[in-house]
Symmetry: C2
Subunit: 331 residues, 2 copies
């Protein structure tokens, strides 16, 4: 065992601090230095902003970098810690998981000090940074294979007070979508560990597809809105137009809202994000591409709903997620 | 050596035919069956439409499939052969090149009968299908890592008559962009082999990023417009709106219009497709992500130009292509 994870600087120093979160080395590789920015303006909310949890979701690291410039000009109180890239090994490989150990960082929190490199990153964040914050924004996106609206999301939380505060925080992003997402694969998520410690945790799911200038501007505005709502910065919330739409809606989705591919083939999306659909409406088509008869299978809406996310046209295996629908939230 | 490549049906039969292009087996794998559709309505233009040349460009296979349905209702003369997936091995892997031999199908034409599987696909297409067509539309896209407008493209062609006919054919797609693309990596392209045989060859570069319903509709309209211009179908050309823009423009781009990353880091796009830029305007930013000082390098326009394509925000190595600019075509 090497030494414990630590910061190379003192978070309690007033003003701007820059340094590294040191993730100790192990048998698989040496120590990892994750750049960290901190701005301490005394009393007030304590916020942690993280990006690059998954390596093919680059909106987070880029928006985090832009926030650092903005906070230095605008922050009036409290403390913000920004860690733009949680998992540099995955970011360098443009892959969801860490190539070295194959692990998904967002399924192994709180991590292990004596584990492989991904587990050691989770351990360092859980032990060194998480205790220093009351609120966490983890900046994800849907990656290159999906179309998904800019969204602030949470999973259902057992504690009704924390749930209400979390939904209010998510709505303060004023993004096109606030989403309560119930799914079955939440063990080891950063969210769960933070919520179990009583923290307000919002997972921003910032679109998907190409990471472009227009989308980055929408994403950044959302995080700024939430930081203004926390009182760390004075200003007015600003909602940017997303595909000719400026309204915000709060939806919920459940495991039964997930549509899977009925066979191996090429998925063709037939609907777009935020389309309203009736039961039986065709959302996508699965083409059996090895057949000269050009056979295909329709993938239909299970009931009246709103298209929340839709996979990019691509070759898919059978039983693979290709679309997610949702309905207005009933709390 | 196994038997020669062949079709499982007779292209000269009138009406609809379906079957396979048989790519013989070799030492690396057994024979490959590529589904082929043909519609023979007698005298008239002879068109070959191909998709799935690169396995991470799914617009082509999907638009090709949609064309098959449309042609059966609308085609009035001539012959159209549709091969939706040239390289199923790459499509299944969602990869540009064939995983089995690592080859880029679009750099090894006319292929080799005694080569590896990718070379054998090129050989089968060059020997069996290419002689049956006077015009070829090869349906590409820019893949998941780029933003690029729907475009009909050609490389410069030495024969001025074939060049003029090719540009006219590309403009008949009435897509937002017609592009004459001069670059240095053209050896072994399908285009070159077809043009050397005197054929009109248009490479459709259908956008990039997520393959979604709206983009597919634009792409399909472009190919339909070109088929109508050829006289295979009667009808009016239809131009769909691309990001609030309905106009078409013809541009040219050269190797000096390619902007590369100045270092290893995360590329942030700051401009969008079709933005007009002046010399020195910031098109993107390269962030040195291992630095806690948040250092970055601006990537600027080399002269007055139009942003043609821009890479998605992603980790990039030094000297990697991140943006392409262009100027109005001077023939």
């Amino acid at each position: 065992m090497s030494k414990a994870p630590h910061l190379t600087f003192d978070l309690d120093m007033p003003g701007v601090s820059r340094g590294h979160l040191v993730v100790p080395g192990g048998s698989d590789r040496g120590e990892l230095l994750l750049p960290v920015f901190s701005l301490n303006k005394g009393e007030g909310p304590r916020l942690l902003v993280t990006g690059g949890n998954h390596g093919d979701e680059l909106e987070g690291p880029l928006v985090a970098r832009r926030l650092i410039e903005w906070l230095q000009k605008e922050q009036i109180c409290g403390r913000v810690i920004v860690l733009p890239v949680l998992n540099p090994l995955a970011v360098e490989a443009w892959s969801r998981n860490t190539p070295l150990d194959g692990l998904n960082l967002n399924r192994i929190f709180p991590g292990r000090a004596d584990g492989s490199v991904t587990q050691r990153i989770a351990d360092a964040v859980s032990r060194v940074l998480l205790p220093m914050a009351d609120t966490v924004f983890d900046l994800h996106s849907f990656g290159p294979r999906w179309d998904f609206p800019p969204a602030a999301t949470t999973h259902p939380i057992a504690d009704p007070d924390l749930m209400a505060r979390t939904v209010r925080m998510a709505e303060a992003f004023k993004l096109p979508l606030t989403l309560v997402w119930q799914h079955n694969d939440t063990v080891g998520m950063f969210d769960i560990v933070a919520q179990n410690r009583g923290k307000v945790f919002v997972c921003a799911e910032f679109g998907g597809g190409t990471v472009g200038a227009n989308n980055l501007a929408i994403y950044e505005a959302g995080v700024r809105n939430a930081i203004i709502a926390l009182g760390l910065v004075e200003g007015e919330a600003e909602s940017l137009t997303f595909r000719e739409q400026k309204s915000c809606q709060t939806l919920e989705t459940h495991p039964s809202d997930e549509l899977k591919s009925p066979a191996t083939g090429i998925f063709e999306p037939r609907r777009s994000v935020f389309d309203e659909v009736k039961q039986g409406d065709v959302i996508g088509i699965l083409h059996l591409m090895d057949s000269p008869a050009a056979e295909s299978i329709d993938i239909c809406a299970p009931g009246p709903s709103i298209v929340l996310g839709i996979a990019s046209g691509a070759h898919v295996d059978a039983n693979k997620l290709v679309a997610i629908v949702a309905r207005p939230l009933k709390l």
